[in-house]
Amino acid sequence: MPESIVGQSVGRVDARAKVTGAAQFPGDLVLPGMLHGKILFAGRPHARVLGVDAAAALAVPGVVAVLTAADVPVNEYGLQTADQPVLCGPGSSRPGADVVRWEGDHVAVVVAESAEAAARGRDLVRVEYEGLPLLTDPFAALEPGALLLHPHKPASEIHPELNVPGNLLSHHQLRKGDVAAAWAEADVIVEAEYRTPSQEHAYLQPEAGLAYIDEEGRVTVAVAGQWTWEDQRQIAHALDVPPEAVRVIYPAIGGAFGGREDMSLQIVLALAAWKLRRPVKIIWSRQESIVGHCKRHPMWFQCRWGARRDGKLVAAQVRVVADGGAYCYTTNKVLGNTTVTCTGPYEIPNVWVDVDGVYTNNPPFGAFRGFGAPQGIFAAEMQMNKLARALGMDPVEVRLKNLLRDESLTAMGTPLPGGVSLVEVTARCAEAAGWRKTLSGWARPLCPPRPETPHLRRGIGLAVALKNIGFSFGYQENCWAKIELQGEREIERATVYLGAAEVGQGSHTAIQQMAAEALGLRREYVQLVMSDTATSPGSSGSVSASRMTFMAGNAVRGAAESALRLWQAEERPAVAEYVYLAPPTTPFDPETGHGVPNFAYGYVAEAVEVEVDVETGELHLLRVVCANDVGKAVNPRMVEGQIEGGIAQAVGWAVMENLVTEGGRVRSDRLSTYLIPSALDVPGQIDAVIVEHPDPRGPWGVRGMGEMPFIPLAPALVAAVHDATGIWFDELPLTPERIVSGLTGKGTETRRP
């Protein structure tokens, strides 16, 4: 057995191709005889399509076809529930599919010999609309008598939380103990409202894809996504063909962050290639991408938490309203996580939580790194930092009194599985950030005033988070893998087949390392065949919810064991498939929310040091310390990369990213109006503290970690700003303008969404 490969910072398998430009992204793919498609977006958030007149478009030289709603065999799709039309318009096979509910709804696709002709054709498609009243405020959408956005919504058999009336999209609730009675025990009560904003994924690669009929007659879509098997299933459903008639391939993917969990142009591409029997390519511009895919859920929190003088929490009451936008996307899963996280990583005897997702005519809100946990943890950690102030206790000290341990009961009435390291990550973070352990407990480092620059004030803040790994909530998490061993006396080559998507996070590299380790081979012998439903027909699940390394590692380990056994039995080649099934979980109990919603968790604590220019409101992030329990760092350098990237993205959400909408339409639809952090805006120093507290069920002890570093950044930053200025900011993003108006006592109140 060579030296262990798991745990080494080996180079990435895709580095060379990406650095030299050899890697093929979907937009790079070309086939002879290829046609080009342009999708006509509704451009208005709520209307009934009365008619689509394609005559002028079809008259454009080079235009081959204009496809509309009537061309879609089963005009509906959706990852969680099929509530979205593929193309909106009359003559549709599904009721309600003639209505556009968001400006990015698709009305037609124009296919032509050139992209220019397709664009010209698209601009000439005439659509007759009947305007419908706009619902862009989730609170208004919940009013009795509000116009129903999804009157034909089908009942969901698998997701009971979706079976709710009116414009309610989903409902979750937790009931533990007796909150009403518990307030009497509280010496301090903190009440507040918080508002967290949306966020655009802004991945490097806007949506693009190429669809064609492959040599076996399958309609094939080469595209960037997060779950080949699920894309295949949804495309097949809309085309009304068996899944085997559809093939999905992911070439190089330019980032995803959850934004490719739900589909964008996949079905339309497949439809065009399937109807026209020619290759069809679509590339979205940045504007189309920003308008055309889902975003992070904006949420509104109403929190009331109570604690005893000694710092022990006695009760937490949290009401959450989340804008779900026009369609479900992953709203129910996202809000499941918000439900779990909105009372923080604490043991609280009395809990009352209500979480509602609401349909509106805003862009659909869906998966984004953290999946509802950044929002939930923001509210919880703001409450905790305020409680620490109100109690006159150090923020670390008050947390240590309440953090969940192995045996503690969560708000779901059950303990957390897999070993709970919250105390350890909190202490490791605090130490690295300069906290001192004194006789009377933890004491935070002081930021002495600097008289020579009175307008620059410094502060430090801390927050702690937990986040589940995997989809769960009753869904049986699974991951398929196949390993083929070739050679005669010695193994000369091992081929690993898996559906996992390499979205830039490095999972292919981690999978190769784990396969090599499981097989006792050097990495060079292990070849990967990934992300193609033709070669990986089983589901490896989504690259999301920090699950891929955990799930794929277990699957590869199982496949490796079987393949090695066959190899010993002289089979050549030795081929073994394996489906790893994660420990089962339960859905939330509809009344109490109790149960075991997840099989694994990751834990993280962050401290932020900030300098605030109190005259301009500019923030300078001087340093972030992140202590993250990853169970086992398969590749420590990639873990650090995830920590740095997650923090940069969280800084964007917390400080600068500002999705401006007006009447449901996105106004900040370019990267010059929707700003993301530049290299100069990320913290000057990021100190990654990698904690390795193995999860007994993770491969080699692995826990997931891709989302964790994002989650506690915002509340830690707000606490640092409070430390610097004495002002709490309950609404993000902390734009200079918001800081200045907060400091001058104007407009610190939280707006309703």
């Binding site: 977006f41 992209a115 220019e116 664009a119 601009d123 806007p206 590339i283 979205w284 511009s285 940045r286 504007q287 189309e288 308008v291 005259e615 301009t616 500019e618 600068m656 401006v660 106004r667 900040s668 010059s672 109006t673 700003l675 952090p677 530049s678 290299a679 100069l680 805006d681 734009t735 200079p736 303008e737 200045v740 108006s741």
Partner: protein, 301 residues
């Protein structure tokens, strides 16, 4: 309508002589567009905001990329001089540091390798970074047309956002700056929404120098960017500063006057209120910074 990825096709000519430019413009009229670095123009073409058939590249005309400095005549900057060239040129750094600061504040390093001062001014955005310094340094735009060359004072050059006094057939070949007043000190302050690559929400250029003819012994010039349709000079504040002894109180009052003069708008990037408040802050900071480095008049204690 949503933008299309990729550029539509157009013809491209690299002009060799000014005469060729005049001729091409006469032939093609509004179908032709002038280009230097293309960092504004190509974005607008990609977005479909302009659809030229012909793009005429002026960067390679003789002298367009030269910087000339003479103590008596001052500075002549070719219109195709890039921001990085400007920010690093020894004479600019030594005698017009304000201009170097402004050039250096544009976007990011790679963009500054292409973006030119001429393109920046001809694009006539209210937030163009080289515009406020050009005002306080009394820049003059050298315009070439069929009738030959003429000079236009910077204050007369802009008409409104995206609009200049250039007539069809005219183009800019250089910007001239007279010698800086003796012992002058300048500061360019810019506020964007991030630390690289954003356009100014507010920008302020301040130039100060000793002047015996001013009652206070000093004169200051102040120009504001991004808070009005064109760059604003603030005569009221400049007058106040000429008549009151330099110091925190005088500067605060001048900053108030600057804020009162601004007429900013609300947009996706910032509110009018915030912009106005920042005019005050940046003007005060600019004045203080200039006062910290300005040489005291000879003979003063």
């Amino acid at each position: 309508m949503l933008a299309r990825p990729g550029l539509v096709s157009f013809d491209y000519v690299r002009a060799r002589t000014p005469g060729e430019v005049v001729q091409l413009l006469a032939e093609h009229g509004a179908d032709a567009r002038l280009m230097m670095g293309g960092t504004d123009l190509l974005v607008r073409i990609r977005d479909g905001a302009v659809r030229p058939r012909l793009v005429v590249d002026l960067k390679h005309l003789p002298g367009m990329r030269d910087i000339l400095y003479q103590q008596q005549a001052g500075l002549t900057v070719g219109a195709a001089v890039t921001m990085n060239q400007l920010a690093r040129h020894p004479a600019v750094v030594a005698h017009y540091p304000l201009l170097a600061q402004a050039a250096n504040s544009v976007a990011s390093y790679p963009l500054r390798n292409r973006a030119t001062i001429g393109g920046n001014l001809c694009n006539a955005s209210p937030c163009a970074d080289t515009a406020p310094p050009s005002y306080v340094l009394a820049g003059r735009i050298v315009v070439h047309g069929s009738a030959g060359e003429q000079e236009v004072a910077i204050a007369d050059f802009f008409r409104g956002p995206g609009q200049t006094v250039l007539q069809p057939g005219q183009f800019v070949t250089a910007i001239r700056f007279p010698p800086s007043p003796a012992a002058a000190s300048g500061r360019y302050l810019k506020l964007g929404r991030n630390k690289a690559g954003d356009l100014a929400i507010v920008s302020v250029a301040v130039l100060g120098f000793p002047d015996a003819s001013a009652p206070s012994g000093y004169r200051f010039r102040i120009a504001l960017g991004a808070v009005a349709p064109v760059v604003l000079r603030v005569p009221a504040a400049e007058e106040w500063l000429a008549h009151h002894p330099p110091g925190a109180e005088t500067f605060a009052r001048a900053a108030d006057l600057a804020a009162a003069a601004a007429s900013p708008i609300d947009d996706v990037r910032a509110s009018a209120d915030y912009r106005r408040a920042m005019v005050r802050t940046l003007t005060r900071r600019g004045l203080n910074a200039v006062a910290d480095t300005i040489a005291a008049p000879t003979g003063s204690a």
